[in-house]
């Protein structure tokens, strides 16, 4: 086991973890935006995502794919 680990970049665990965190943040932001849109139906107010939100939304590929559907 330990010999095999020598072939793995020491940072790979950190990279996988960061990819997961980035994905989760993207999904959360997607649902938050969805919630605001949902509220918008009742209040009649059109909620434009703030520039930061737009950035985060672009950050994760998953919500974008979902949005297309």
């Amino acid at each position: 086991m330990h010999l095999l680990l020598g072939y793995i970049d020491p940072g790979s665990g950190m990279i996988v973890l960061q990819l997961i965190v980035a994905g989760i943040i993207g999904v959360l932001v997607f649902f938050r935006n969805l919630w605001w849109k949902f509220l918008g139906i009742f209040t009649g107010r059109k909620t434009e995502p703030t520039p930061v939100d737009a950035d985060v939304k672009a950050a994760s590929p998953k919500p974008e794919e979902l949005a297309k559907k």
Partner: protein, 476 residues
């Protein structure tokens, strides 16, 4: 220290890992040869105003483009394959993470994170995050490895975070929670310890506490998973993503965590006052300070090593005479207190944790990458105050051996405090030891020293049984 020299340039031995450039010293000036990719990125950073910001915020070491056409062509001739060069501010002395106290390593970590956060704004990232890329100038960290800058495809993930953890997060966690010291952590492995080894240091319950979960336990689990995976992960890494907010959030979390690890640490001596371990009453202390200052003003050294500096009273004193000082002590908490004092009162002092019985060895590739403490040492005066009895009794060194040690350390002067065997502190060291030191007297000590040093001045310290010498190396 440096090898592979050309006509008048000598390449710095520690600068060889990165293919995009290397550092060399030429006629006392530090230059960096950079490849065309690095040159393009640097020009972009300059034109975008980012370089000026990095320099103004003191995030990076003083850096200029070599624009003089004659010098450029000369350098290009001496360094085949390179056409572009940067000029850097010279940093001396160089110190390494195994010579830092806990706040120094934490500040180096925070500095690296601050630089990375600033670079992200420009869409740039650090391709590595080693602690050797940070140096301290007058107690302030600065980043020295400009060729680590790159423009990666995706900014939501920092590929150097694994290395950052090995160089900063792990040693700080192990220091605070498991009593490791940085010497054993770094000297055993120049690149820090693997996440597997670090994870094993945390117990089965502790592993799930916030302190370890995100930065040790989960990365270790995912590393094992990555090991089991057969597919090629590179496609994921090269998927373009110009949004950095996920990384920014993580780095800001990490920044707060590391800061807290250092600020909540209470070095021994903050509460139990250090003066309790010092034998001087305030009158004798004042007299000693006057004498040391007088001797330093006589010798006029430009670079001083204060060996056994404790919390640095005499290091500050030496800077008042115009010298820059390496303040070294074997006691991590003393250096920690000195470093904190230095934050409140900036001075030309470089604090280092150095155990004189085992000074930092040369480590790394061919034992050349990180030179030993003695190889880096370049001072014209050594201050050895209240040190001789420690070397003689605890260090078990004979007086001739102590003399030769100091002879090797200084280029010119030595300010030595003689502590007689009937001194309170000398007796304290002998508490549980056979007294083999009865033959040590002021005269016998002077006789041994005089074989290699001239006694320039000798003065008893008023109000104490001790004597202060100003000695100068004999010229052959």
């Amino acid at each position: 220290m440096a090898h592979e020299s050309t006509a008048s340039s000598e390449r710095i031995a520690g600068s060889f890992r990165d293919p995009s450039g290397y550092v060399f010293k030429r006629n006392g000036t530090i230059f960096r040869a950079i490849d065309s990719d690095c040159q393009r990125l640097m020009v972009e950073l300059r034109n975008g105003g980012w370089l000026r910001q990095l320099l103004e915020k003191k995030l990076i070491v003083g850096t200029q483009f070599v624009e003089d056409a004659n010098l450029r062509s000369e350098l290009a001739r001496e360094h085949p394959g390179y056409e572009n060069f940067l000029r850097h501010e010279l940093i001396a002395p160089i110190s390494y993470p195994y010579e830092w106290s806990v706040s120094m390593l934490a500040d180096a970590a925070i500095h690296t994170l601050d630089l990375q956060l600033k670079l992200l704004e420009a869409g740039v990232s650090l391709k590595d995050a080693t602690a050797y890329n940070i140096q301290f100038v007058n107690g302030r960290p600065t980043f020295i490895d400009i060729s680590s800058f790159e423009r990666p495809a995706r900014l939501d993930v920092w590929f150097a975070l694994g290395q950052f953890a090995q160089m900063f997060t792990f040693p700080l966690l192990l220091f605070r929670h498991h009593g490791w010291d940085f010497r054993s952590y770094f000297l055993g492995n120049i690149n820090g310890r693997d996440v597997e080894q670090v994870a094993r240091s945390f117990g089965p319950l502790e592993r799930w506490l916030p302190r370890a979960l995100f930065d040790v336990t989960l990365p270790a689990i995912f590393q094992r998973k990555a090991n089991a995976q057969t597919g090629d992960g590179r496609a994921t890494l090269e998927k373009p993503n110009k949004n950095s907010s996920a990384q920014v959030m993580n780095l800001q979390r990490l920044r707060g965590k590391l800061r807290k690890l250092a600020t909540t640490y209470k070095p021994r001596g903050v509460w139990s006052d250090y003066t309790s371990t010092c034998s001087y009453d305030s009158e004798a202390e004042k007299a000693k300070k006057l004498l040391v200052k007088e001797f330093l003003e006589l010798a006029k050294p430009s670079r001083v090593l204060d060996m056994g500096c404790n919390t640095g009273d005499y290091s500050f004193l030496a800077t008042e005479t115009g010298a820059s000082v390496i303040a070294a002590d074997g006691d991590q908490s003393a250096i920690e207190i000195l470093y904190r004092r230095l934050q409140a009162r900036p001075a030309a002092i470089s604090p280092m944790v150095i155990d004189l019985s085992t000074p930092s060895p040369a480590i790394g590739h061919r034992n050349l990458e990180r030179p030993s403490f003695f190889e880096r040492l370049d001072v014209d005066c050594v201050l050895a105050l209240a040190l001789i009895h420690h070397l003689h009794v605890s260090g078990n060194l004979s007086i001739p051996a102590i003399r030769d040690l100091f002879f090797d350390m200084t280029r010119d002067y030595l300010v030595l405090e003689f502590v007689p065997t009937d001194d309170v502190m000398f007796k304290k060291l002998l508490q549980f030891r056979a007294n083999l030191f009865g033959s040590l007297t002021l005269d016998s000590c002077r006789k041994v020293l005089a074989e290699k040093f001239d006694v320039v001045r000798e003065a008893p310290i008023p109000g104490s049984p001790r004597t202060l010498w100003l000695l100068r190396k004999k010229r052959k």
